[in-house]
C-alpha cells in the first residue's frame, strides 16, 4: 500500500481539487463564520474556497449522500380532455445525480456511512428493501478522509470502534505531513483518483511524519470505558420511566443531535403542492419530534421527550447493534454533545445505563465544573 502512497503540498491542493472537479462534484468543509459546513468546491475560484481542514465540521457529511430534502417525483395535475371532471397527472422523475467526491471528512463521518449501508442496501431483507436513491449516490461517491491531527473533549470514537486515523469506509486516507498531506489509497477507486501530475510519490520522511502525527492524535483521546453491556442494559432500562425522565430533564427535544448526526438515517415522504404543481419530497425526519410517531388516530405512543430520548439512545446502542452485527449506530463524533444547547451528553446516558455513572444525582466528584472555583 505504501508504495503507491502520494504526497500533495498544501499549495497544490486547490489545483488538485480543481482537476477532480472535472470528474466529480467536489465537496469540502468550508468555514462560514463560526460554522464549518460541507459546501461544493468552486473550481472557478479555488483559492477563495480552500477547505477548512483544521476544524471538525459543525455538520456531518451525510447530506451529500442523503440530502436533507430530495425530490423523488415532480408532478403536475391537468384536466383530462376526455373526461372533463377528472384530472390526469404528469409525472417527471428528476435527473439522476452524478458522481460526488467528499474531500477532508473526518474518519467518523466516513464510518457514519457504514451505519447507513446495511439499512439501505437490502442486506437485512434479502435484497427486498433497497433504497435506490441512497445507493446510487453512495456508489458514485469517493471519500477522501483526513485523519484527525487532534481530538476534542467531546470526541469518543474510541468508545465505538473508531480511531482518529480510521480508514474504514474511506477511499483515500489523507494525513497531515509537514507542508501538505500524505495520501494513501484504500480502495481501487481511491488509487485511480491519485493519478495526477500534481501529486508526488510519498518519501520516507513524510510517511514517518504522518504516522507520528496520527499517533500523537490518538494519545489525546481519553481511554474508553467498557460499554459492551449497553445493549442489554438499555433493554433492561426500557420500563424505567424515572431513569429516562431524569436523563431527559434538560433535553429540549429539538433536532440538533439527529440532524448533525452522521448515522441518523430516518426520513419522511411528503407531497408539497402549489396550485397544479407539486413535488414528492423525501426529507430528514427526527425521532426527537412528536410527529415522528404520531398516528392517524391522534394517538402518540411516544408522548414526551423522555420516551423520544429513550428511543434515540436505545436505537443507537441496543436495537441497531442487535440487528446489524453488533455495530453501534454511533461513531463517537461528539457533535450531539458539542452543539447541544442544553448540555445533553450521550456518553453520560450510556454510562448511566450500564451503571458506570449515575445521573442526575452526581455523588462522585463532578467532572470539570465551569464557574466552579470560588
Amino acid at each position: 500500500m505504501e508504495a503507491s502512497s502520494k504526497f500533495i503540498a498544501r499549495t497544490a491542493l486547490a489545483g488538485w481539487l480543481g482537476e477532480l472537479s472535472a470528474r466529480f462534484r467536489v465537496w469540502a468543509p468550508r468555514r462560514e463564520g463560526r460554522a464549518v459546513l460541507y459546501r461544493p468546491f468552486d473550481p472557478q475560484a479555488p483559492e477563495d474556497n480552500l477547505p477548512e481542514l483544521d476544524k471538525k465540521p459543525t455538520e456531518s457529511a451525510k447530506h451529500i449522500i442523503f440530502p436533507r430534502s430530495e425530490p423523488l417525483i415532480n408532478f403536475r395535475r391537468k384536466r383530462d380532455p376526455e373526461h372533463p371532471g377528472q384530472f390526469l397527472l404528469d409525472l417527471r422523475v428528476p435527473e439522476a445525480p452524478g458522481p460526488s467526491l467528499i474531500f477532508g471528512l473526518p474518519p467518523c463521518d466516513a464510518r457514519g456511512f457504514m451505519v447507513f449501508d446495511p439499512v439501505y442496501n437490502g442486506s437485512g431483507t434479502d435484497g427486498q428493501a433497497r433504497d435506490i436513491y441512497y445507493l446510487r449516490r453512495r456508489a458514485a461517491a469517493l471519500l477522501i478522509v483526513r485523519s484527525c491531527s487532534r481530538t476534542l473533549s467531546t470526541c469518543f470514537c474510541n468508545w465505538v470502534g473508531g480511531a482518529p486515523d480510521s480508514a474504514e469506509g474511506a477511499d483515500i486516507l489523507a494525513s497531515e505531513a509537514e507542508d501538505g498531506f500524505l495520501l494513501e489509497p484504500v480502495s481501487s477507486e481511491g488509487a485511480a483518483a491519485l493519478d495526477s501530475g500534481l501529486l508526488v510519490p510519498a518519501d520516507e520522511n513524510r510517511l514517518k511524519a504522518a504516522q507520528a502525527a496520527r499517533d500523537e492524535a490518538k494519545k489525546t483521546l481519553k481511554p474508553a470505558p467498557d460499554i459492551s453491556g449497553a445493549g442489554k442494559a438499555l433493554l433492561e432500562r426500557f420500563e424505567d420511566a424515572a431513569f429516562w425522565k431524569g436523563e431527559a430533564a434538560h433535553c429540549l427535544s429539538c433536532g440538533i443531535c439527529t440532524f448533525l448526526c452522521p448515522t441518523c438515517y430516518c426520513f419522511n415522504v411528503t407531497d408539497e403542492t402549489a396550485g397544479a404543481n407539486g413535488v414528492r419530497l423525501r426529507s430528514w425526519d427526527a425521532c426527537m419530534t412528536p410527529l415522528f410517531t404520531l398516528e392517524a388516530s391522534g394517538h402518540n405512543p411516544r408522548q414526551d421527550k423522555a420516551a423520544r430520548l429513550k428511543n434515540r439512545i436505545g436505537h443507537k446502542f441496543s436495537y441497531y447493534p442487535e440487528l446489524h452485527e453488533a455495530r453501534f449506530a454511533c461513531v463517537g463524533c461528539g457533535r450531539c454533545i458539542k452543539s447541544c444547547p442544553s448540555g445533553v451528553d450521550i456518553r453520560r446516558i450510556v454510562t448511566d445505563s450500564v451503571g458506570l455513572t449515575q445521573s442526575p444525582k452526581p455523588k462522585a466528584a463532578p467532572r470539570n465544573i465551569p464557574g466552579g472555583k470560588e
Binding site: L281, W284, P341
Partner: protein
C-alpha cells in the same frame, strides 16, 4: 462567592416543598454548564450560578405546570417567568422564584472569536471563572480573558440584573439600572438597502438545518408538540430545506413573539449553525415598544398588545389614514 452559598441555602430550604428546583449544574465540557434539576439535598452542592449559567431555566416551567417548582433566575430569566405568568401559561402559586444579582453571562461566540480557530466547545481543556476573568487551558497554554470582553450583548443592555420578581433573593437586591437600549445591533443591517438585507438573510438561512432548536429553546414558544411548522393540515411550511421555507419559519416565530419576547436570546444561542435569529425578534419587539409602549416580561398583570385589542389604539390613527 457568598451569593452562591446563600443561594444553596435558600434552595435547601425550598426543596422539601417543591418537585424540583431548576438551576444550572456542570455541563459536558468545561466552557458549558447545563440546566440542572435539583431534587435531593446533595444535588444542591453542584449548583452553578455565574457567568456560565447561560441557559434560561424558565423554559422548562410550562412542563411542570400544576406541580410546585422552584426556579433560580437571572434577571433576564425572571422576565420570561413574568411573561409566562402574564399569559397564564404557568400559575404564580406554582413557582418559587429564587433570584440573585447576576453579573452577566458569557457569549460562546465572543469566546470563540477571542481564541481564534480553536475556541469552539470541546477544544478547551479546563475553564475557571473568577470575578473578572475567564481563565482557561487551551492546547497546553494558559489564557486569561477579561469577562467584560466576552459577556453577551444582552447583558450590556440589561436593566434588571436582579430578578424583576422573586420569592427569595440571595444577596443584595439592587434598583433597576439606567441603561438605554438603542438597538445598535440592528443599525448595521438596517442601514443597508432592502435587497442587500434580503441577501443577508438568504445567506444566513442557507445554513439552516431546520432542527427547530431556536423554537424549542424559546421559553415563550409554548405550542411545543402543536407547532404550525410541523402541521400537515393546514400545511403552512414545506419540508423542503430551502431558504424560502427556512425564512418563512423564522418570520412566523418572530411574529408570534412580537410583544412577548423578552430578548433572552436563547433562540440565537441554541442555533448550531449560528444564524443571528434574535435580530428578527428584536426588530419586531422594538416595533411593539414604539407602537404600544409595551415592554414584555416586566408586569405579570399586563397583556401583550397583540393578544388583546382596544377599540381605539392610542398610537394607531386608523381614522386618519
Amino acid at each position: 462567592m457568598a451569593t452562591q452559598e446563600e443561594l444553596k441555602k435558600i434552595i435547601l430550604d425550598v426543596l422539601p416543598d417543591v418537585d424540583c428546583v431548576i438551576g444550572w449544574g456542570p455541563g459536558p465540557e468545561p466552557l458549558c454548564a447545563s440546566p440542572y434539576f435539583m431534587r435531593n439535598p446533595e444535588d444542591v452542592d453542584y449548583l452553578l450560578a455565574g457567568p456560565a449559567s447561560v441557559h434560561n431555566p424558565a423554559l422548562f416551567l410550562p412542563e411542570y405546570k400544576g406541580r410546585k417548582t422552584g426556579v433560580v433566575v437571572k434577571g433576564c430569566d425572571s422576565r420570561s417567568v413574568v411573561q409566562l405568568i402574564s399569559e397564564n401559561l404557568i400559575r404564580r402559586e406554582d413557582v418559587v422564584i429564587i433570584g440573585f444579582p447576576c453579573a452577566g453571562v458569557v457569549d460562546a461566540s465572543k469566546i470563540a472569536a477571542k481564541l481564534g480557530p480553536y475556541g469552539e466547545p470541546g477544544e478547551t481543556e479546563r475553564a475557571i471563572f473568577d470575578k473578572d476573568a475567564l481563565n482557561l487551558s487551551l492546547g497546553g497554554k494558559e489564557l486569561s480573558i477579561p469577562l467584560s470582553e466576552i459577556l453577551a450583548d444582552k447583558c450590556s443592555r440589561c436593566k434588571h440584573p436582579g430578578a424583576v420578581i422573586s420569592d427569595y433573593f440571595a444577596g443584595e437586591a439592587a434598583d433597576a439600572l439606567q441603561v438605554k437600549d438603542d438597538f445598535t445591533d440592528l443599525a448595521g443591517l438596517e442601514s443597508l438597502p432592502l435587497e442587500e438585507r434580503f441577501r443577508f438573510w438568504e445567506k444566513e438561512m442557507s445554513r439552516c438545518i431546520r432542527c427547530y432548536a431556536c423554537r424549542n429553546a424559546c421559553p415563550l414558544c409554548v405550542c411545543r408538540d402543536h407547532c404550525v411548522a410541523s402541521s400537515r393540515e393546514p400545511h403552512w411550511l414545506a419540508q423542503a430545506n430551502g431558504v424560502r421555507d427556512n425564512l418563512m419559519f423564522q418570520v412566523i416565530h418572530a411574529t408570534h413573539l412580537a410583544g412577548r419576547c423578552t430578548g433572552c436570546g436563547e433562540c440565537q444561542r441554541a442555533c448550531p449553525v449560528h444564524i443571528p435569529v434574535l435580530l428578527l425578534k428584536r426588530s419586531l419587539g422594538r416595533a411593539v415598544e414604539q407602537l404600544f409602549g409595551h415592554h414584555a416580561g416586566l408586569d405579570p398583570e399586563s397583556r401583550p398588545p397583540l393578544l388583546t385589542f382596544q377599540m381605539e389604539e392610542t398610537n394607531i390613527k386608523e381614522r386618519e389614514w
